[in-house]
Amino acid sequence: MLGQRRLYILPLWPGVGLFFGVLLMLFASINYGMNTGFMFSFMIVGYGIVAILMTNLNLYGLRLKAQLRQPAVFCGDTAWVAVSLSNARRSRRYAIAIGRSQRLQMVGATFLNVAGGTSISTGIPVPTRERGWLTCPLIQVETAYPFGLFRVWGFWNPAVQILVYPKPEVGAPPIFSSQGAGSDGRAIERSEGHDLAGIRAYRPGDSQKHLAWRQIARTDGFSTGQLYTKDHEGESSLQLRFVYDDLPAAMGAEQRLSRLTAWTLAAHAAGASYCVDIPGATSAMGSGEGHLAHCLNILALYEKNEGA
């Protein structure tokens, strides 16, 4: 919520212009002893003062809430912070600019009107330059509505953190290479997973590729609805181990993490079972979305001590 103490106000150049204009008008009124002129000049002074109030009220009491659009991004990509502006007042708030604050200047401003009693959401792009936890930058909200004589602004530090994964290396060596494993960080373990262990009843989630067609046909499974699945030892055919310490000595830490990230993504895409092994944190062998997130998490936070 934008309270009085967090709002700042300064005149814009039309405000300064108006000030000198009023001075001129007062001089003319004094010179010609015009009472109507005095009144008129002071009406314009009143207009200027009320304009401060009106501009301030356009922001005052606006509630801001931030949330992440996606849980994590890869370094170099843009993280989008969704900010919702809610207006508890009945009247509409016009022309509110919101954006990142950079040396008190707004970057990437979006202009919004917030209707009375509603809230509106907008995305604020946050560039990522480093892996690890990224604190959402300072957000600036400002307005010059209605008269453009004054600019009122406030800052807001949303309690939102963005996890930034290492940037996946472009052109990383393929995970299945003809070269022998072990020398460059990949330890490929042929799994026994191809050996048939038996046939069991179908469970939701079993791959269609593994259906035991012969068994199903024999028991007329299509009419009874009873399906069978060929049970394999292990979920995947391959087990990959990506080891940080085994990567070539010439590579720096970030390069290594970048390559490991690329491999992790490739392994996930291939449906392989894999794990990452970096000093201080090693994941278990596994696959699936959850496992991917876990592995990337480990890679992102390598030697980053702060954490949420």
Binding site: W13, P14, G17, L18, G21, L24, M25, F27, A28, S29, I30, N31, Y32, G33, M34, N35, T36, G37, F38, M39, F40, S41, F42, M43, I44, V45, G46, Y47, G48, I49, V50, A51, L53, M54, R92, Y94, A95, I96, A97, F111, L112, N113, W133, T135, T143, A144, Y145, P146, F147, G148, A159, Q161, N305, E306, A308
Partner: protein, 653 residues
């Protein structure tokens, strides 16, 4: 963030309205020029065409300045300045490209609005200009809205609301803003309007244009019951020097001039306030016999002369309100010596021989002064004398020509003839000019006196009674009054407005009179507000024995009270800051040990993460520090003791 067509159209329309009243005094080529510029702007806006180039603008500017010099002979001075400002607005409007130009035009238009008050200051123009102000405000709201911005109606609403909310501020500033008398630059120029008031001399035929004018001369308000308006003879000047053509006041160095009137009065006084517009005269109007006059403005300090005229120190160049006490039942100059009366018998030789002959005959027939007067008035009434403001030119012997040949004329001719006749008959007499009657408005109790009520009558000195008023014009038979709406008062016709008449006519009259009342109040309260009233007002709200500069004292007291209330809070805030500073110092110290606090970390989180990495002794101090700090900062124990403890712990880390 950029204006749309409709905003430019709105601005153009507002500028046209701000300019409109200036058409009354600007040369017609300039009105045409402004019209063309505004049309050009409208066309540019409508077709989204580009504004003219710099060269064209400079040429236009040079042309216009040349035109102003040609028309006024100069670019300085009030009228020329306003001409320049209005033309500059037209040019600026033409080259509006960016919001910057838009604002410049709006502010120029504000100034042009203000200059309208140099010429007109009445209620109507003030309301109209406030309306234009709202338009101008509404036009630049659009520069600041996101798309889609508020509709036109809402913009007007916001603008009007802003203006109304600002009115109290404006009113207070208006009342307390120090008024400086006199111009800051240049010399005091005469008011812009042509003064149509009465002149300080009278020769028959002078008032002909005046009595046709419907302009208001002044308004008055009586405390108590308003007398019958037909009986209100507003004395302006008493004229006693005659050169055969023109009546003047006696020379200013005349020793009698500054004498107080020799006045005896009986009965109840009349007390009334008069508000009169600037007229460049050096006198005020009053009912006979004025005893006392008060005004707030020192320049208009008024003396009551021996002949009951009210003379001001300087010419009336602003609206003035003054209060008079008069005694309608009076006798003036009962005891006059022959020498005192001599000036009122003076006549130029060689003029009006027939009148002199006629006077001699009448005098012989009527030895008593009163009889003679009545005989003359009867002569007017019985013979074929007409009242009309369309008077044919008279010969050199004006009175002879009027009395024996033309027999048509109005108040000036009748009073002139009467006084000349009386002096010829050896009776001291003089001419009085002023106004007769007025229009009574029962809604606000004001009597409005118009220029059309201008009148001239006579005074005759009668032994043992002093100066007595006679109005020869009223002796004319009413059937011989020709087409003269302004003369109704002079013949005792009913001039009292009677309630709200049925039908539209009545409603129209009602609105008109009420509008008139509002304007009168506006004049009375608003336009006459000057430094003296300001002083008076400020004095009235303060105890009488102290100067208003003492207002500073209560202001100071309020400031102290506020300080008393808020200072502890501020100090507590500062104290809170002290804790914060200690914490930040610790953080900085740890940061030097490569234990940087993350921006999102609270003190406890930070301590949990970091403390294992410290040496055991330091670790204990740090944990203690954080514990004390958290309690002090977020709890209620923020005393000096805690702060000292924190300092000590910090040093140990």
């Amino acid at each position: 963030m950029i204006f749309q067509k409709r905003d430019l159209h709105l601005l153009t329309a507002a500028c046209a309205l701000a300019f409109a009243p200036h058409m009354l005094h600007l040369p017609s080529w300039m009105t045409g020029c402004a019209g063309l510029l505004l049309l050009w702007r409208t066309w540019l806006t409508a077709t989204s065409a580009k504004p003219p180039s710099r060269t064209v603008m400079v040429l236009l500017l040079v042309g216009i300045i040349a035109g102003v010099v040609f028309s006024y002979g100069t670019v300085t001075g009030k009228d020329a300045n306003i001409a320049v400002v209005s033309m500059l607005l037209g040019l600026k409007l033409l080259e509006v490209r960016q919001p910057r130009d838009f604002y410049s035009s709006v502010f120029l238009a504000f100034f042009l609005l203000l200059t309208n008050f140099l010429y007109l200051q009445d209620l109507m123009i003030t309301f109209a200009m406030a309306g234009v102000l709202v338009m101008l405000m509404a036009s630049h709201i659009s520069l600041n809205d996101a798309v889609p911005g508020p509709g036109l109606k809402e913009r007007f609403y916001v603008s009007a609301k802003t203006l109304v909310l600002g009115l109290p501020i404006a009113a207070v500033l208006f009342l307390v803003f120090p008024r400086i008398d006199g111009p800051l630059w240049g010399k005091k120029e005469a008011e812009g309007r042509v003064s149509t008031g009465m002149t300080s001399t009278m020769s028959p035929g002078d008032m002909a244009t005046l009595v046709k004018s419907t302009e208001t001369a002044f308004v008055s308000k009586f405390s108590g019951i308003t007398p019958e308006v037909g009986s209100l003879y507003w004395r302006g000047l008493t004229l006693s020097v005659y050169d055969g053509k023109t009546w003047r006041e006696s020379a200013p160095n005349h020793e009698q001039q500054n004498k107080r009137p020799d006045l005896q009065h009986t009965g109840e006084p009349l007390k009334y306030q008069v508000i009169i517009d600037s007229n460049d005269g050096k006198w005020l109007y009053s009912l006979d016999a004025a005893q006392d006059v008060e005004t707030d403005i020192p320049e208009y300090q008024t003396n009551i002369r021996h002949d009951l005229t009210l003379k001001t120190k300087s010419s009336i160049t602003t609206t003035v309100a003054y209060t008079v006490t008069s005694f309608p039942a009076y006798s003036l100059d009962k005891n006059m010596s022959a020498a005192d009366l001599a000036p009122y018998l003076q006549l130029p030789s060689g003029f009006n021989p027939r009148t002199a002959e006629f006077a001699k005959q009448m005098r012989a027939a009527h030895p008593k002064d009163e009889d003679l007067i009545h005989a003359f008035l009867e002569h007017i009434n019985k013979n074929n004398f007409f009242y009309t403001t369309d008077v044919p030119a008279m010969g050199a012997d004006v009175v002879d020509d009027f009395l024996f040949e033309k027999r048509v004329g109005f108040c000036e001719h009748y009073s002139n003839a009467f006084v000349v006749f009386m002096r010829n008959a050896g009776v001291p007499a003089r001419v009085v000019v002023g106004y007769l009657g007025g229009k009574y408005n029962q809604y606000n109790d004001y009597v409005t006196v118009r220029q059309a009520d201008a009148h001239a009558w006579a005074e005759v000195w009668i032994a043992g009674k002093g100066w007595k008023r006679f109005d020869p014009t009223s002796a004319i038979n009413p059937s011989r009054v020709i087409n003269d709406p302004g003369s109704a008062n002079h013949f005792g016709m009913n001039n009292r407005e009677t309630g709200i008449m049925a039908g539209l006519e009545g409603l129209g009259l009602y609105l008109k009179t009420n509008w008139h009342s509002a304007n009168v109040e506006w004049n009375r309260v608003f336009l006459t507000y000057a430094s003296n009233q300001q002083d008076k007002l400020l004095k009235s709200v303060l105890p009488s024995h102290m100067s208003w500069h003492w207002a500073a004292a209560p202001t100071l007291l309020v400031a102290l009270a506020l300080a008393w209330k808020f200072l502890p809070k501020w100090r507590a805030h500062r104290a809170g800051d002290a804790f914060e500073r200690e914490y930040l110092k610790v953080c900085a110290k740890l940061a030097r040990m490569d234990l940087v606090r993350a921006q999102h970390e609270g003190p406890t989180e930070y301590a949990n993460r970091v403390s294992q990495r410290l040496q055991p002794a330091k670790q204990r101090s740090f944990s203690a520090f954080i514990e004390v700090y958290v309690k002090a900062r977020y709890g209620r124990q923020s005393t000096k003791k805690e702060l000292a403890l924190l300092r000590e712990l910090r040093r140990k880390i």
